[in-house]
Amino acid sequence: MKAVYKRELNSYLNNPMGYVFLGIFVLFFSVIFCYINLYSLVSSNISYTFSYMIYAMLVLMPLLTMRLMSEEKAQKTDQLLLTAPVKASSIILGKFFAAMTLVLLALVFTLPHIVILVIQGNPGFLVTLLAYIGFILYSSVYVSIGIFISSLTENQVISAVLTFAIFMGLLALEILFVPGIQSPTLYKILSGISFASRYSDFSMGVFNLTSLVYYASAAFLFLFFTVRVTEKRRWA
């Protein structure tokens, strides 16, 4: 797993795409931060910016995950990986953690924003930390879905478009479909499985073990699906 992780991380950092992701991430984050935190709400609570960033991630995540599996297929390097004495789960986890490291790296570039909040206001340490934890968990679900989609196709563009479409579909379901549901039980179930509504706990300053388990299990489930797809290819 370590070798795959190192290889993927090097690939991100020796490739302009990694920097494009970091640049666009910081750009989106900064624009939202300046408008929401500094100008509109004049609030030292960073969760407001993160609440909007989860929408920006719809565009950013496909950039990060589109090549993870499909590039291997397109360049036929997957044959090497699949025949190597490495478990499929190690390959997938290596790629997953490499992508998550890039997300964490992007978050490092948001520290100047926090410094400004500390200078101008009084952001609570724990509330800020929880907003970051929530965002990392949310991103982990997006990354795992992205890897799964990427494992289904060898075309990076198709992978990116499909990932974006699925994220948009999930969001549309949450925004357009769920509100119109008349049955309270169905409404509760569907809003309960909504990724965005689960994030609200973290943005409010409430650490909810149930939401943590939900995000962790959702990420696990899609990583598991990816392992199954990879295993299938290995033994095909």
Binding site: L41, V42, F109, P112, V206, V213, S217, L221
Partner: protein, 481 residues
């Protein structure tokens, strides 16, 4: 070979199905456990999503089933409000929370006269009482210099706990606020603020114009706040008749105006003299600066009415100088309890001398020593000894000033007003009012435009551009290799 493939596929499908079921089960279990036990940690500074002890005291009194409806729609649903309401149901088994989408259930909207999304209705079917808490009451924001929200205060817990108390009580207090004599409550802002504050404390509040109306039979309390014009003999008779029937009055004086008729009545019937003076304190510990002068921080005196507030170290404020001192003459028929005073270095000044003191000129105090600011008296009326008349006199109407009774205030003027109304009405163990809580919106210094622009340039332009340039450098280096 085909058999192996089928076996592998079947095995894979079974494993996948098992994992899916396990993940769903895990989440269902955590969902159920989370509903029964608290799996959440509230890390907000003010504990916005944790019930306060005052609310728990109210909920401990609930023995009848109560339904709390959260009337909203999917777009406007506030997860923070839902979280706070869930805490009520988690704490008391008698409370049920029901989400109502008023777009899909117009009957509910009509029946409960819900006017906006995010309205909360508290109903006790047993007593048939309900209270509708409009969304405009729940969260109130103060604007910064740019006209945008700087801080917002959440009153939901405070309003809901009061509504719970109201819905289970068999007979809520009927409080009448006097108008018609230039009272501060003739100003609609003050009146609205005072009415909504008392309403939030489970009281029924109405306006009473003594110049034209009789005091209603059901009046539990009459509040007279800072009148500028004197009461006529006829109006005083109405008040006196009300006392004869065991009435309760709170009178907050307006130091800028003299009311000879009313003062004479208070002196004759209650042996209370409201001095035409301005009270200050020479001990700086009992003064605090404010944007409208400075506050006088009175000393609370031990009494049954104030013992709880005294125990929790509650602090009060009135406006320095805009406060009259009160004197009471001992009388065997009247039981008087001093509630608030100045320190022992208190001073009573004529208005001229107060103006001089305020402008740092030399002045002469007409009276030095502890000055009484608030007093509570009770007596058995002469013609009706079976009842008890109660009167609270405060030397300053500022005690009811809108900012002073704001639940978000650090001072407990509101608590004293509420506690005294409840106490005088015989509800001695009424839970003290539930304080509002500041929501997550932490206030920050408003940035001047040049600073905002410089931060914007660094964050929006400099950092992303550096990253893009770095990306281009990596791209060029790779091409050269």
């Amino acid at each position: 070979m085909n058999n192996n493939k089928i076996k592998f596929k079947a095995y894979g499908a079974a494993i996948t199905a098992l994992v899916i079921v396990a993940v769903i089960l895990l989440n269902v279990i955590f969902g159920v456990v989370g509903k029964r036990y608290n799996l959440k940690v509230d890390i907000t500074k003010g504990g916005v999503f944790t019930l306060s002890n005052e609310t728990k005291n109210v909920l401990d009194m609930v023995k009848k089933d109560i339904t709390i409806y959260y009337a909203t729609n999917a777009d406007s649903r506030n997860t923070g409000y839902a979280e706070i309401l869930d805490n009520f149901a988690k704490y008391s088994k008698h409370i049920t929370i029901k989400d109502v989408n008023i777009d899909l259930d117009p009957n509910f909207k009509k029946t409960y006269q819900v006017e906006s999304y995010n309205t909360v209705v508290v109903e006790c079917p047993n007593t048939g009482k309900k209270r509708v808490i409009d969304s405009s009451l729940i969260e109130q924001s103060s604007n910064n210099s740019k006209g945008t929200v700087a801080t917002s205060v959440n009153y939901l817990e405070s309003y809901v706990s009061a509504a719970v108390l109201y819905s289970i009580s068999s007979d809520p207090l009927d409080v009448y606020i006097s108008v018609g004599h230039g009272e501060i409550t003739e100003n609609t802002t003050f009146l609205d603020h005072l009415m909504s504050m008392l309403y939030s404390e489970a009281m029924s509040v109405r306006v009473l114009d003594l110049t034209a109306e009789q005091i209603p039979e059901n009046a539990d309390m009459i509040l007279i706040a800072g009148p500028k014009m004197d009461f006529t003999a006829d109006e005083i008779k109405k008040v006196d008749d009300y006392f004869e029937k065991g009435g309760r009055v709170q009178f907050y004086s307006n130091p800028a105006y003299s009311l000879p008729n009313l003062n004479a009545y208070l002196n004759d019937s209650w042996k209370i003299q409201i001095n035409n003076d301005c009270v200050s304190d020479d001990d700086g510990k009992y003064l605090a600066k404010s944007s409208i002068g400075s506050y006088l921080l009175p000393v609370i005196k031990e009494s049954d009415m104030t013992k709880y507030l005294s125990a929790i170290g509650a602090k009060f404020r009135v406006q320095e100088g805009e406060t009259n001192s009160i004197k009471v003459t001992e009388n065997k028929n009247i039981q008087a309890n001093v509630l608030l005073t100045t320190s022992e270095k208190g001073i009573s000044l004529t208005r001229d001398n107060w103006v001089k003191k305020n402008s740092r000129q030399s002045y002469v105090a007409q009276n030095n020593g502890e000055q009484t600011i608030m007093i509570y008296c009770k007596k058995n009326p002469l013609n009706n000894e079976s009842t008890t008349a109660r009167l609270l006199v405060c030397g300053s109407y500022y005690m009811l000033y809108d900012n002073f009774i704001d639940p978000s205030s650090n001072y407990a003027d509101k608590d004293l007003v509420v506690k005294s109304i409840n106490y005088m009405s015989g509800i001695e163990d009424a839970p003290v009012s539930v304080a509002s809580k500041q929501v997550l919106n932490e206030q920050m210094k408003v940035l001047e435009i040049p600073k905002l622009v410089s931060y914007g340039v660094i964050l929006v332009a400099a950092i992303p551009v550096i990253l893009f340039i770095w990306g281009v450098y990596v791209y060029i280096r790779r091409k050269r290799l």
